[in-house]
């Protein structure tokens, strides 16, 4: 109905270095313009445009029925989204911050993730749950959690997390178009990262579930995603001086997990480090390391190592730099991959 509200001329005028936040907003807008069943709902998503301004302008452009300020209740937001999806809409839910999505877990786990299964395929729920996640923005308590381990432990959900401006757009479009529910984790410290991204140029909207090699290399693979990608890219550049040619794999999607791309890389390099921000024990890195080991055991020159946040509640902002895996910690792990040479 409001397709005309996204004139190409305006887009061209705005084509310049774009932030991830802008790309996400554009993805929402384009999805809404293309498909009248796409509805955005959440806390402060209307007039304010969301606390991160991702939904800026949507209520104005599409009306409050399409971009709705809900009462302040996460279970209610996701629970009503379930009903909306049951009636044929495609709700895109915004959770304000990672740790405030927890009240909605019951709805997510007991209903969103299971509806297709419990109705033997009769009732898929095409819901996208956008969750800004992770630290590094100086947020106080409950504003910096990396909650991906909870989501990936729940069968029936796709769990996606972009690390680049292009992927933020492409993966969000694909998530909204998916007939399966998607938890779309937005690395909030990359919201303001920029890229020369012109929305009017063709943007790849790939099926979710494909990892990508961001930097080819020969001596070891860094397996990472979301907020840790820039850290790994920097580490890879720094490692060159020390004679390491690191390959960097950006998973982009934790579920489905792209075993092929990851295993192919590790078989080439023979060494791997998994890098993420969330805590290590019971974190995604353990699963990834196990999968890599199972598939690549005979190609491995060293154990698959993990670099993660500490196993502590997310620390206060003045301390978070100690918790977040930075370039040095990644390089230390890379150094430990000398395993065979040393023993």
């Amino acid at each position: 109905m409001t397709t005309a509200a996204a004139p190409a001329g305006e887009r061209t005028a705005k084509a310049k270095p774009a932030t991830m936040a802008q790309a996400l907003g554009r993805a929402l807008r384009d999805s809404m313009a293309e498909d009248p069943t796409v509805h955005v709902l959440g806390e402060d998503v209307g007039t304010l445009g969301g606390v991160f301004r991702i939904t800026d302008g949507l209520a104005k452009e599409f009306g409050e029925d399409r971009c709705t300020d809900t009462p302040l209740a996460e279970a209610g937001i996701l629970g009503t989204a379930v009903g909306m999806a049951m009636y044929g809409l495609r709700p895109v839910v915004e959770m304000q911050f990672d740790a405030f999505a927890y009240p909605a877990f019951e709805q997510l786990i007991s209903h969103v993730a299971k509806m297709r299964n419990r109705t033997a395929g009769a009732m898929p729920l095409p819901i996208t749950v956008r969750v800004p996640y992770g630290g590094g923005i100086g947020g106080v308590e409950h504003h910096s959690d990396s909650s991906e381990a909870y989501y990936i432990a729940t069968p029936g959900l796709h769990v996606v997390t972009p690390a680049t401006v292009e992927d933020a757009y492409g993966l969000l479009r694909a998530s909204i178009a998916s007939d399966d529910p998607v938890v779309f984790l937005e690395p909030k410290r990359l919201y303001w990262s920029k890229a020369d991204w012109s929305p009017e140029a063709p943007v790849a909207v790939e099926p979710i579930g494909r990892a990508v090699v961001r930097r080819p290399g020969r001596s070891a693979t860094l397996i990472t995603y979301g907020p840790s990608l820039p850290v790994c890219m920097e580490a890879a550049e720094a490692a060159v001086e020390e004679g390491w040619d690191l390959e960097v794999v950006d998973l982009r999607s934790l579920v489905p997990f792209d075993d092929e791309t990851v295993a192919a890389s590790v078989r080439r390099t023979g060494r791997a480090v998994v890098v993420h921000e969330s805590s290590g024990f019971g974190g995604p890195g353990g699963e990834i390391a196990a999968r890599v080991t199972e598939r690549c055991f005979h190609h491995l020159e060293a154990p698959v190592l993990r670099v993660s946040g500490f196993d502590i509640p997310y620390p206060p902002p003045m301390q978070e730099r100690h918790h977040l895996p930075g370039v040095d910690r990644v390089l230390d792990a890379v150094a430990r991959l000398q395993w065979e040479a040393e023993s």
Binding site: P71, G83, T119, A122, M123, D179, D180, P256, D259
Partner: protein, 387 residues
């Protein structure tokens, strides 16, 4: 200590800013102090006798269904059955008050409402039988899957009703919940969303006295569960849940109100669970026989039967006819439930995602190998027999 008693309190007394006023006058939202009744009162004269007879037949059938399903648990044909005996009036009225395009959101106890709405009696038992989770297509019947986590289906009903209204369809959602379920956060969130959005939803609380073993007095300190509506800005209605005509009328009014854009209603039907929580529960641990007996005198079928026979609308023939029809249904149910369902273990992987992930494909392949090995073992004897 009140505000006035504080030293210098007058200075701190907040003056409401000019725009402040209550959003809603609470008086019309308040439930009557006594549950509304129709049977045995003058109000019954306005009820269509056809409707009363229909309710009666369905109640008798429903009670027989509960008894048959409970018997099936003893035979191991059902994993569990939460009987709604004593609550049939609520179940049946909920189903009959809805138009075909409307939606029902039942809890795990509301099999009967689903059957009365027209769902196949066997399909309605799929969850409780344990062969799969939901035995029907919710969209086809406009019945959401029977919901086990308490009150979580209530926001779904709100969302669906809201979506229907956005699409311009005059569809109403009726969501059922128990007295215990009203303590859950989802109950609160659903009612609040419904009221703010003026969603065409009717919430039916079946207050059957207990949440498993916990009596209402330990569940809430509210004057009644219907009173909770006022705080959300929707009307609360209190009705005798054993009076089928009254429940039908009150729900009917609430549905009509919702359909015409008047927003949601919370209906509390005061009833009693005659059987234990489920076949696995021992109700003697938490309630006394005298209480159960008192409610037996207020049985929904007896109430209706007395009304109908008293007015000459139902005779022995009619009673017998209803009984025979119920018996026929029970026999058919028994027979169909005695057949073992044919299950395909590969279905376990079929409906997790649109497309199976690599992990699921690997796991499915592993299960297939296990199944083939199992068949191989069964085939082993054949080999020994010289084939």
């Amino acid at each position: 200590m009140t505000v006035q008693e504080l030293p210098g309190a007058a200075a701190y007394r907040p003056t409401p800013p000019p725009a402040w006023k209550p959003l809603t006058d609470p008086a019309p939202l308040l439930p009557d102090p006594e549950p509304y009744r129709v049977l045995g009162t003058d109000a019954v004269a306005d009820v269509d006798p056809e409707l009363l007879l229909r309710l009666y037949t369905e109640l008798v059938r429903g009670r027989r269904y509960n008894a048959q399903a409970t018997a099936l648990t003893k035979q191991g044909r059902l994993a569990v059955y939460p009987s709604s005996t004593g609550q049939e009036a609520c179940e049946i009225a909920a189903a009959l008050v809805l138009e075909e395009r409307d939606w029902l959101f039942p809890s795990y106890r509301d099999t009967l409402a689903a059957v009365a709405r027209g769902l196949d009696p066997v399909e309605a038992l799929t969850l409780l039988r344990g062969d799969r989770h939901t035995g029907y297509d919710p969209r086809e019947h406009r019945i959401a899957p029977l919901c086990t986590p308490l009150a979580t289906q209530l926001p779904h009903a709100v969302g669906l009703a809201h979506a229907a209204r956005l699409k311009g369809d005059d569809v109403v959602a009726l969501a059922m919940v128990g007295d215990g379920g009203t303590s859950e956060g989802d109950f609160h969130e659903a009612l609040n969303f419904a009221a703010v959005w003026r969603a065409p939803v009717v919430f039916l609380v079946q207050n059957n006295g207990f949440a498993i073993s916990v009596p209402l007095a330990k569940q809430t300190a509210a004057p009644s569960l219907a009173h909770k509506a006022v705080g959300y800005g929707m009307p609360g209605r209190l009705v005798d849940g054993n009076d089928a005509a009254a429940v039908h009328q009150v729900l009917g009014e609430a549905v009509a109100r919702a359909r015409s854009g008047g927003g949601p209603t919370l209906v509390e039907a005061v009833t009693y669970r005659m059987d234990a929580h489920t076949n696995a529960d021992d109700a003697t641990r938490y309630r006394v026989d005298s209480e159960v007996e008192a409610w037996r005198a207020h049985d929904p079928i007896r109430l209706l039967e007395r009304e109908l026979t008293g007015r000459g609308l139902l005779g022995d023939d009619g009673i017998e006819e209803a009984r025979v029809a119920a018996e026929r249904m029970a026999a058919a149910l028994r027979e169909r439930m005695n057949a073992d369902p044919v299950l395909d273990p590969m279905d376990l992987f079929a409906h997790v995602y649109v497309e199976q992930t690599t992990q699921l494909r690997e796991q499915a392949a592993r299960l297939r190998v296990e199944l083939e090995a199992e068949q191989g073992r069964h085939g082993h004897n054949d080999l020994e027999e010289g084939r």
